[in-house]
């Protein structure tokens, strides 16, 4: 399984944000996007997820599920957490567990939700409305989504924002397990996530300088 981008060009408004970017990430590898603010890290991640159409070039997954779009094989965790303030923490996650599709019918939704909450240290907060969570806890709830449905590609956009040191370590563990299990990780980050053997893609050539 390979995630391949070829000569990708993405234009936002009149500005070319991504100019001629190519990369290939194999299963079990991770790609960390670095670069200054405005260098196109988010744009690249959103292009892989299929929200943005590239002007030219393409992203594709070789050896993935041919019946699904690339976006449907990705977990996308962006700046927003996708949580509802009036639903409980467990209910928020249970919704995504069912909505994102159960690829493992042997494990009931409840157990998957409980497992993901446990892993991200939210088990004690399961029955509290998500609106009462702190920013860091909310972010962890958003991240817990990546554990409840199995998908080969994880797209994480600044996943460590508002996380404390312990949670950052936890996230690094979760991510390393995913990569070790043959998954693909593409993350935009300012902090090194502590993943061994990660590839780096530095964005922000001419486009960032012009901005």
């Amino acid at each position: 399984m390979h995630l391949v981008a070829e000569n990708l060009n993405v234009i936002r408004g009149t500005r070319t944000v991504i100019a001629d970017v190519s990369f290939a990430v194999a299963a079990g590898e991770s790609l960390l996007l670095t670069g200054p603010n405005g260098s196109g890290k988010t744009t690249l991640i959103r292009t892989i997820a299929g929200f943005l159409k590239p002007e030219s070039g393409a992203v594709r997954l070789d050896g993935g599920d041919s019946e699904l779009d690339l976006g449907q094989q990705c977990h996308y965790v962006g700046h927003l957490t996708g949580t509802k303030a009036s639903l409980s923490v467990a209910a928020n996650l249970a919704f995504w567990a069912e909505y994102l599709g159960d690829r493992d019918p042997l494990v009931p939704t409840q157990d998957r939700v409980a497992g993901a909450l446990e892993r991200f240290g939210l088990a004690a907060l399961a029955d509290i409305p998500a609106g009462f969570l702190s920013a860091g806890q909310r972010r962890r709830l958003g991240l817990a989504r990546i554990l409840i449905a199995k998908r080969p590609i994880w797209l994480l956009d600044e996943p460590t924002v508002s996380l404390d040191a312990a949670s950052t370590t936890l996230l690094a563990e979760v991510v390393s397990e995913h990569v070790a299990g043959g998954g693909i990780l593409v993350a935009a980050t300012h902090l090194p996530l502590g993943i061994e053997g990660a590839k780096y893609l530095r964005l922000g050539g001419a486009a960032a300088e012009a901005a």
């Binding site: 299929g50 949580t83 994102l100």
Partner: protein, 222 residues
């Protein structure tokens, strides 16, 4: 299809918990209709004659009030982007949200209408037709409204723009809804024909509305 019903259930749970939207729509409907006799005077014959039109127009405006929230919350908290990566196509997600809007707003408004009919001295014979036409006509309001709500998603203060976009699309529903009710109230033959056309308009909206809404949502995510 489990995703479809999961989404409908979540939308209904949220509508119930954050009940303000439904409450506002029902309260608005009640007030507008209650103001009519005060403004027009106690002429019972006049009120009975204009009752179908007043009930329908006030219903459209009340439903319009709750439309902008259909996708707004999911857009603001990022849920919409996650939904775009789900196995359920965005068209069906839009349909699920429109269906939930109909159940949580359209049906309560249609059920409240007979109560308001009393305020307007509506002929008792017209009550079954009133509820039937409103239940048949309100899906068009929710499903066409979904397309409008999706289009105006990132427009600041999109509420007014939404009204400008969507109200003209409600004209056929309004015409055939009122004509079905008037025929029933006056004991004329035309009820069945108008009612069937009203159903046809709703069915077409149920199919076309989500397609347009999904296309608009994809644009908004760009």
């Amino acid at each position: 299809m489990t995703g479809f019903w999961t989404l409908v259930r979540r939308e209904l749970a949220l509508a119930l918990r954050e009940g303000s939207a439904v409450g506002t729509a029902l309260g608005f409907y009640l007030l507008v209709v209650a103001l009519m006799p005060l403004g027009l005077g106690p002429d019972l014959k006049l009120l009975a004659r204009i009752a179908p039109g007043v009930l329908w127009i006030a219903l459209l405006l009340a439903a319009l009030l709750s439309l902008p929230r259909m996708f707004e919350a999911d857009h603001e908290d990022g849920s919409l982007e996650v939904m775009a990566t789900a196995p359920l196509p965005l068209e069906l997600a839009a349909a699920a949200k429109a269906l939930a809007h109909w159940i949580s707003t359209g049906i309560p408004l249609a059920v409240l209408a007979p109560v308001l009919g009393i305020l307007l001295n509506l002929d008792l014979a017209a009550y079954p037709a009133l509820v039937a036409t409103m239940l048949a006509g309100t899906p068009a309001i929710s499903f066409l409204g979904a397309a409008g709500a999706a289009l105006t998603l990132s427009a600041r203060r999109g509420g007014l723009l939404l009204a400008l976009l969507v109200l003209p699309l409600y004209v056929p529903t309004l015409i055939f809804g009122i004509s079905a009710m008037s025929s029933a109230a006056l004991g004329l033959d035309g009820f069945e024909a108008s009612f069937l056309i009203l159903c046809a308009i709703s069915l077409a909206s149920v199919v076309l509305g989500p397609l347009a809404a999904a296309a608009a949502l994809r644009l908004q995510m760009q």
